[in-house]
Symmetry: C2
């Protein structure tokens, strides 16, 4: 099928575009390159040396014989061009990664908060609006986040996949109602994904759009079988305080001998998924869209859960690097349990990569190999949820 | 106190600004005049001859001796100017009406859908972000809508004021959880107000902002004691298919002998409030903000409920004008009951104007008096929820 991948130059988008191309799909990347531009703004760079998008596409053509298209286009700001693309290309599906995706960045400054809201909401709404205006039946797969659920809301019950049935008291006794899991976002970024959910619910109801929302955990790992085929296809690896995800940050810190930066007690339990599984999940979701008129289809896209301090202890044990407990720049519970339902992807054949399988190659092939590219002044998290929540000066000069 | 009224030139905003000024508050209107510009776009005009904002303010000064300030400013597009205004004026409270508020307009075209989302979400988020950045403790009162709740969700239970407690099943038995009433918006406009709710919840939680959200019913009536003090202070009265609210439309239709346009069976039950009560509710809400750290305070701002066909029959009986049953351009239930909790405003002293008290003066002083200004080509609703839902050609040439 022909698939538009919005945000197809990013951390999840790029390996997804390659995976789908490798599987024989006709892929067109739509990207405004905002992720690379934010690196410029923050003065940071991927630990891995990522090639420009044009090089990436040329190399992929060279190693696979397959062409991936590219449109330099901002879906939040260039509605008419995006609509024209739908009308000329008539894609069979759209995968939408085109959102600012770092919680710390979304709390960094008023400008970053506003960019996150304006970019994510207008972008997602434009995609929905353009599908309706195109008159085409184009299923949409969107990357949500586990963070829409918050943590600890449902007691001992596992977090369901999107919906749950609750009892509502009435004068005639309790009645059962299925509701979208109540939203409890922990950052402006996560909040935008809770807004997306309401956009999706409306367009599914009013226009019978076929929408899948994937509530993904924290992604770790770097490479997929496709990005490994040539050095110039390498995926990005963020380690900075804004964009680095926790496990990748620990791996890079260990590689350079920097203390592992645990915020608060490290008792936060989070859900994880390897980027290799992300791309498989996207493909499964593309193959299983809801029917027209059905409600938004929600999957929890996670494979394992860990406490942050468990991860730090694991890496510390492997590498001998110490752990530094720093103040927490986020407003969040110090400790939480996490029990996530993830039956839908398992039922559709996902066979996950576990931490125990993938960790050593990450240490060897990525963190140790590229450690000389690290800028140690970018490691400490500097974005805070409220004034006064600053964590620490740099730990290593 | 010093109050900024965002959208203070509009249908609810203008009488609110005058009421607050009359009560001795120091009022500054912030408005981009977008409502007047949309009239230009649609080629329609208020049935009542509204004066330019500068005239309005000069006349108010003349009749009351009081000055109302005015900033021509778009909160969705001019963040820095709005922040500067907070820093220089240091208001004690903000009332936020600055959103595109017509459901039919929000479904009219892709451009109107996008404007509604972009204007309402970015505007509301900018207001929240600027309050935080200003470092000031400024309570915010926002106009929501009963439409966030949808209709018929809670069985025989009345719609609560914002929150309800449900039972969530867990392996250890049901647990009680208070949730924001699930959102079920019926248009892109209503959807934006459900997005606002999530913005408010986040900023109340993360930044301890003090926010009141008023879920208002359909406003009817035109004048308040303040707008009646001079012809040039008159409030707007919309009768067109996009902005006219149902009861005002019937009144104008009756005045010119146009059939009363009921869509579908007219079995839709809706909640109503006179504009005179709107301004009192705003004042009550300003006097009773939540404390810092408390959740968003939600009021249902309604006084009566009627089925649309009951209203049509009432007006038809008074005036002798016939009823025209037209196809419904909206996706909505043909018939619904509506039982709304509105205890909070009643407890705080609201003594509502009922239809039986206010209707005749509306017929006499507004609809009949200004009927020669009506453009009969703008009466039929032309905005449709999906292609193919068009209702009717003009009924009167």
């Amino acid at each position: 099928m022909k698939v538009l991948v919005i945000g197809g130059d990013g951390f999840c988008g790029w390996p997804t575009a390659l995976h789908l191309s490798d599987q024989g799909h006709d892929v067109i990347i739509v990207d405004n390159l905002s992720r690379r531009k934010i690196d410029v703004e923050l003065g940071v760079d991927s630990l891995t040396p990522i090639a420009p998008i044009e090089t990436r596409l040329a190399v992929w053509k060279e190693v696979s014989g397959k062409t991936i298209g590219f449109e330099y286009l901002d879906v939040a700001l260039e509605y008419q061009r995006f609509l024209d693309l739908l009308l000329s290309e008539r894609p069979d599906a759209i995968v939408h990664f085109g959102e600012q995706r770092a919680a710390p960045y979304s709390m960094r400054t008023p400008a970053a908060k506003r960019f996150t809201v304006d970019n994510n909401v207008s972008g997602t709404h434009n995609v929905l609006c353009a599908i309706v205006e195109s008159g085409q039946d184009i299923p949409l797969v969107h990357l949500g986040t586990m963070g829409v659920y918050g943590y600890g809301w449902s007691g001992s019950a596992p977090i369901p996949e999107g919906y749950l049935t609750v009892k509502v008291p009435t004068p005639d006794g309790d009645i059962d109602r299925e509701i979208l899991h109540p939203a409890n976002p922990g950052s402006v970024y996560h909040m935008t994904k809770t807004l997306d959910q309401l956009l999706f619910a409306f367009y599914a109801k009013n226009d019978a759009l076929r929408i899948t929302d994937l509530h993904q955990g924290i992604v770790w790992g770097t490479q997929t079988p496709q990005t490994e085929r040539d050095e110039r296809l390498i995926n990005r690896f963020d380690y900075d305080g804004d964009y680095g995800t926790v496990l990748n940050r620990f791996l890079m810190q260990a590689a350079i001998g920097h203390p592992l930066t645990v915020h608060g007690t490290g008792g936060q339990t989070r859900a994880f998924i390897h980027v290799r599984d992300t791309v498989r999940c996207i493909e499964i979701a593309l193959s299983n869209p809801p029917k027209r008129g059905e409600q938004v289809s929600v999957f929890n896209q996670v494979t394992e859960t860990y406490r942050v301090r468990e991860l730090a202890e694991l890496i510390s044990k492997i590498t001998g690097v110490e752990i530094a407990n720093l103040p927490n720049p986020r407003k969040e519970a110090a400790e939480n349990d996490l029990n996530v339902t993830r039956d839908r992807f398992v039922a559709l054949g996902l066979n996950p990569t576990t931490l125990s399988e993938g960790l050593l190659s990450e240490v060897r092939d990525i963190a140790n190999r590229f450690k000389d590219r690290a800028d140690t002044t970018k490691i400490i998290a500097r974005s805070v949820w409220n004034k006064g929540m600053e964590t620490s000066p740099d730990l290593v000069k």
